[in-house]
Structures are given as C-alpha cells and as structure tokens.
Assembly symmetry: C2
C-alpha cells in the first residue's frame, strides 16, 4: 500500500482554489443563461449505446467510454467473437451503456422522449461533464464540462440574436475581449453551387480556411488537387479576395450570390442577425468569416465561433443552427440553434490574463482561535450569530499552539482572526485581528459583524 494512489489519465481533481475559479465561470454563464429565459435540465451520465452510436461519426464511436454490463456479461455470447477478436460485435454484446460524449445528443434524446411534456419553443441550458476516450494532451481532457444553451422548435433569427447577446454578456462579465465570427452554411452551399461544384462544399471550405496560413496561390493549387476545375477555381477568386468592413463584405457577398437562391438566403440571414445585434448594441467585435466551417455535418444555417482577442488559443465558444437535431430519434422538422461555452479554455484564458476577482478565492471570512473547551464553546455561540448574518466563520478545532493556528488562517487566506480568551469571556467581547494590517481591536458581537461585513 506504499504506492501513492492516482487517478485515470486525462481526468482531474479540483482543489478548493480551483473550484473557486471554476464556479466563478459556471456561475457567470448560468446567470446569463437564466437572465435570457433559458431553463436548466440534466440528463444521466450514462446513455444507452443505441442513443450514442453513429451520432459522432466512426471516429466518435471509438471515443465513447463503454460501461461493462453487470453480472455474467458473457452469458449467451458466442465465444468465437472472442477468438476472432471481433471487437465491434463483441463490444455490442457485453456493453449496453456508454458515458455521454456531449450534451447535444442527450438533449435531442430528451426532447423526443419528453416531447409531450415540453412547451415549445423550448429554451434549455445544461452544464454537465462529458467524457471522451481521446488521447490526453495539454488542454485536452477525458472528462470535461460543457455549458450549452439551445432553443428548439423555432426557426426565428431572434434566437440567433439572443444567443449572440448571451455570448457578449458572458465575456463582458468575465472581462475577456472577444471576436465573434459568423458564417452561414447556406452561404457556403451557395458558393459551391455558384462555381458549379455543389458536392465539394467541404473541400472548398477546408482550402479557404488555410488562406491566412498558406496564401491564395497555395489555396488555389490545393483546390485543383481536390478536383476543382480551373473554371471553378477562377470563379471562386472574388470570394477568396473578399475584404473591407463586415458591412462591405456582406454587400460583396450579396452581389456575388445574387443569382443563387441558397446563397442569397444565407446572406439575408447573416444580414438580419448582424443588423439585429448591432441595433441592440454589442461589446464584442463582430466578424464575418466565410472560411468558418465548424460543424458542417449538422449546421444548416448560422455558424458561430468565438476567439479571445488577447490570448492565442482555439475557439472558446461555438454554435450554430441545425434543422434536424431530433430527426435521428424519429421526430423530424424541429429546427434549433445553440451555443456551447468551452469552460476549460475559458479557464485557461482567465488564468493567462489573471482576470479572476479576489472573491473567487475567499472561503472563511473569520477564524476564531481555540484556547480550550470553555472558550471554544463561547466562541461557537458568537460564531452562530456571525453565520446568521451570512458571514462564513470557523473555529480552529484544536487548542493548538497560537503559531500553528495563525499559520492555518494565513495559509487559507482568512482575512480576520478573532480571539475569545479569559478576559473576553468575562466581559462578553471579542478581540479582532485584521490579518492584512495586523491591527487589533476589542469589540462586541454587533460591532464585530459591522466591522467585518460580508
């Protein structure tokens, strides 16, 4: 038993100090969700594998954590599956459940399962951990939290406008300068149709996405390698060279796509969303980015991505509109739009910029020194009054040496120490020591509450 215990790779323990910082992020996000009329739900950590499989592509299926069936899980299982090491079939026999991989598929399952109890449009938020059997690396964990807000059952662009306001408000409260990048799947589809390559949507966006890194010439070569005709590449040039303000770029796109109905619809949607948020007012910088192509497997309209302006890190929030989330569970025609805050990356950004308010690290506000049993009972009586006034207070549990007790208060950053010794017991007072200034004063309970506030 001499070996120090450990936790599975890619997982983390959170200390009280880390919890203070993490809860600051979660609480901020939660408050903004609530202010915008989103309501919380929670789903189980375990879902049936039939719910999860096939929803995240072949790669995703491999990254699901599977729960071994309880009891005699081999009963009725053909042993030849073992001899042949036929993993897909064997695994499906011995595991029926898996840990959730994201909050989107469980949400879709929830909506379909509870469709008759829900009021549509249904605005929900969900803050829970998810698990992925990914190779752990810096900033990538096997257990991490997602903070999602989605509205389903409404295709109004007001939802997009509100979600962008929520993003703006969360990062304003956290003090992080951001750029919100917008795109629209219909614009991308329109471009692909316009240049006569409707099936090459993904290839085109992958190539466009590299323009800042490798330059236009290399992007064009790559497009040809991916099978685009010279003519298609030529017709794409005005889009690759698009420039100017957001409004100017929107106008250029509008003209380029004006004969393509899909693209025109996309430009109209972008225009409505951008004009809407600008009319209401936004702190964040807005950017129109035709190379933005996250979630192309399922997004059908607006695409959103958020970057921190002052820290070099990937996307810290993302989202978009999907038109068939619940179709996979047999309930077609429900349009929805949602965003997901990346808590772990936001945590890293706040750490890098040192933006945590002091309150995230405060626990106990005042510690009473322990001079023995009768003094400590007298202290506990006074502590009860402090707690009733909302002040976190504790007594050092042992009558240890003064130095040890003060060291404890110091290590825990407790700002005040109180002393009830023989004298104080006699005259019903308390001696208060301010740990920052070192000042001491003798007080009554009421003036103590006054002095240290909350």
């Amino acid at each position: 038993m001499a070996q120090k215990p450990s936790i599975p790779k890619g997982t983390r323990d959170f200390s009280p100090a880390e919890m203070g910082r993490r809860n600051y992020i979660f609480d901020t996000i939660r408050q903004v969700f609530k202010l915008h009329g989103y309501r919380p739900i929670e789903t189980p950590a375990m879902e049936n594998l039939s719910t999860l499989m096939g929803k995240y592509g072949e790669e995703g299926d491999k990254l699901l954590f599977r729960i071994l069936n309880s009891g005699e899980y081999l009963r009725g299982v053909d042993h030849s599956l073992v001899e042949n090491e036929d993993y897909p079939r064997l695994t499906s026999k011995i595991c029926e459940k898996g840990l959730r991989y994201d909050l989107t598929v469980p949400f879709a399952r929830f909506v379909v399962q509870h469709r008759n109890e829900l009021q549509f449009p249904f605005k929900r938020y969900q803050i829970q951990p998810v698990w992925r059997a990914d190779r752990p690396q810096k900033g990538r964990y096997r257990e991490f939290y997602q903070c999602d807000a989605d509205v389903v059952g409404s295709d109004s662009l007001l939802n997009e406008i509100e979600l962008l306001q929520m993003i703006d408000e969360v990062f304003r409260r956290l003090g992080i300068n951001i750029t919100i990048k917008l795109n629209n799947r219909k614009v991308l589809a329109g471009i692909a149709e316009l240049i006569g390559e409707p099936d090459k949507l993904i290839d085109i966006t992958v190539a466009i996405d590299k323009i800042d890194k490798i330059g236009i010439d290399n992007v064009n070569s790559e497009l040809r390698e991916r099978g685009l005709s010279d003519e298609a590449v030529n017709r794409l040039q005005p889009i690759l060279q698009i420039s100017g303000t957001v409004k100017e770029r929107l106008e250029t796109l509008r003209k380029l796509l004006e004969e393509n109905p899909t693209g025109t619809k996309g430009v109209e949607e972008l225009t409505t969303v951008i004009n809407g948020v600008e009319a209401i007012g936004l702190d964040a910088e807005l950017d129109l980015d035709v190379s933005l192509a996250r979630g192309l497997n399922y997004y059908t309209g607006t695409i959103i991505e958020v970057k921190a302006r002052d820290v070099a890190i990937g996307s810290i929030t993302g989202g978009g509109r999907y038109d068939n989330l619940t179709g996979i569970f047999g309930m077609p025609g429900i349009s929805g739009v949602g965003i997901s805050f990346g808590a772990d990356r936001i945590y890293d950004v706040l750490n890098t910029l040192n933006l945590y308010p002091d309150e995230t690290q405060t626990g106990t506000r005042i510690m009473f020194v322990n001079f023995g049993h009768s003094e400590s009972i007298a202290s506990l009586k006074m502590i009860k009054d402090l707690r009733s006034a909302g002040i976190s207070a504790e007594i050092y549990p042992e009558p240890a040496k003064m130095k040890k007790q003060m060291g404890y208060a110091d290590a825990l950053h407790i700002p005040f120490v109180a002393i009830i010794g023989e004298n104080e017991m006699k005259n019903g007072t308390v001696t208060l020591k301010d740990m920052t200034t070192g000042e001491q004063q003798q007080l009554t309970v009421d003036s103590l509450i006054e002095a240290i506030g909350k």
Copy 2:
C-alpha cells in the same frame, strides 16, 4: 427510428421544474457548508478500479460500474478466461476504471494523493453524483447525488458539534422537523466487553435494533440464537431497558459502563458533544440511541443519523467519526468525521410536505409579446435594460398568434407579460400585463423595472 428513445433503468432526466427544486436543496446545503468554513472539491467520475475495489465489501465490488478499456481490450488476455467464464479475472483484465460508488473513498484517495498541498485540519465538502449497479426500485437509483462534508486531521469533538449544527441549520432552512440520533461506537464496544462478548458487537446491535419491532423477549431469544450465553443476555437487560430523557439515559449508561474504559470513553464523548450542541442551541430534537449502528465497519466514535419527524422514510442524513480513512491508501493515523445528506430522500420529504418556496419554480419574470421584426428589436432593447437590472426576461421568438404567445407565458408560469406595439414604439413606453390579476398599465422602462422588481 420510430421507437421512442429511452434512458438506462435506474437513471433519470431532470426537467426545469425538477431542477428548480433540486437546486434549492443543493444550494441550501452548499450555503450552510460554506458558512461553516468547509471548502469545495471535485473528483473525477472515473477512478482506477484499484482505488475502488475492496473498499465496499464483496457486495459493493459487484455493484461497481466498470468502464471497458479502450481499443483492443482483449490483447494479451488469456482466452481460457472467457471459455471458463472466469469473471473476476477476466473483468480485471478488460476494465481498469470504474465509476465512483460514493464520495468517501475518492476523498480518502484525494487526501493521500494531495497530502503535501493540503492544510490540515482539512475541511471539505463535495456534491457530486455516484453510481451503483443496484437493482432499481422506488427511491433507489443507479445514479444519485451525495452531499458530503468531512474534516480530516483533527480528533477534536468540536468538529462533531459543528457538523451537528450544520445538520440543524440545513433542515431549519428547509423547514423539515428532524430528530438527530446519536450513538458512539465505543459505547457499543464497551457493552459487548461488559457482558463478556467482545466479538459479538454486530450481533448484539442487530438484535437491539429490533426491540421496538419485536419486543424484549424476542430480542433475548435472538441473542441466544446468535450464541450469547444466558449470563451475557442477563447482563444486557439494564441496557435494553434504558429509558428517560437523553440526560438520564446518558447517566444510566455512565454508571453501567463505569468499570469499562472503552465504554466510559464513549459516554464521555457523547456527553461532550450533547452538552456542546445544547449550550449553543439546536432546533432539532436530540436523541441518544444505543441501537444506532450504521457504518460499524468503519465508524470508530460518534455515529449520527437523522430522521424526518413528519414523514415515514428512512434516514435522510448520516455520518460519524472514523479513525483510519486514509490508512487503506498508505497514510495511517488521520482521524476524521463527516456527514452525508441524502438529497433524493430530502427531495421526497419536501415533496410530501409541499415545502418548496415559490421561487424554486420561477424562471423568466417577464415575457415580451412578438408583433413582428421591428417591434421585437425595440423589445430586445428594452429587455437588455431589464436584464442589466437583474430581471430574467425573454421575447417570444415568433410573431405567432396572441393566444399562442400568452399560452406559452401561462404554461411557463411567467408572472408578467409586456407588449410593445405600434403605439408603444411611437411614445417609447411598454404595456405591462400582470398575469395573476389581469391588470394592465402603460409604463416607461424605469417604472417597468420598478413595477416588477426582481
């Protein structure tokens, strides 16, 4: 895909209404933990099976949910383990990780793993789900939350006193009348020694526990069946017949056990704890119950159990003192004491007594009716001011029929509805409708904020 999706048996989805009630419980407990200087930690859902196995008895090992190793989990596994269906050995080869079964063992692992970073005494709380492959039944789930507070590294009885105050305060805030039952393992051990049957501690307590149900004569028969001598049974009689107030029973116990050092120590500890909490003041009823024998596998001193007085339900909170929690991980000699609130049973008690405050069901405070695009942008501007004032507000996202929009507000128990139509846009006002009284009035933004408060 026509089949309605479902979730694994024994697990639950939580709707917004249920989340409101659950968060009320968790927030109440969390606030009380904080006021008493306890600090939060979190540990991963998955632990190494080497951490979990053997800590909950043979039965507990069977109830662990195991995670199938990723990738080619059969590589290097002797196929004869499969042919022979040698579950224990096969399972240990194909699964390295399991879901946590409680919060106590992960806490012990945490303390040992981070011993050099922690300040002792270490007071932590932890509110997280746990998983058990138990047979699901009414009130018993495979995924449920535990809310634990423990202090390790101090054997002072002040910790017990504070934990009892915390129990008292949580249930006072929740409005649940409780009885806190106390016992002490040393008293039980003293009794067993006194009657000359020190090895029959468990048999004796199991039998004593039935006295209310089956009567003294049947208890005595059972004790003889369990191998106690007639003399031992005779010597036990004064303890079985113990009666009177808590103080009287303490005094009877003290006299009965005065020649037994272990028992005397136990009575002294109980006396200190009971006198301590009574000196500070307690709302709950205190009871001394020598038949209380929960957690005898690991509790070494104080034993605590809480029952609701107005609802017939099992224990809603429990706890006790343990002297060797971290010994299993190679760090002996750390004494601790802790309590665990049973959130699911507390939820049932609050439901039965209908004790939830109205606020648990309120989400959005005001909904704006949608009359079309320009009205809705005007509404969103006003809504921004409301949110800045801390008021949850939303706009119905579609310009649907009035009846549909009002039906949504009604179904979600939104207390106020606001209307910005042509007139209101012109003169910069808003029409406010109180959904309870049906009253309407025309207001400015400032007076609107004033009118609906938070």
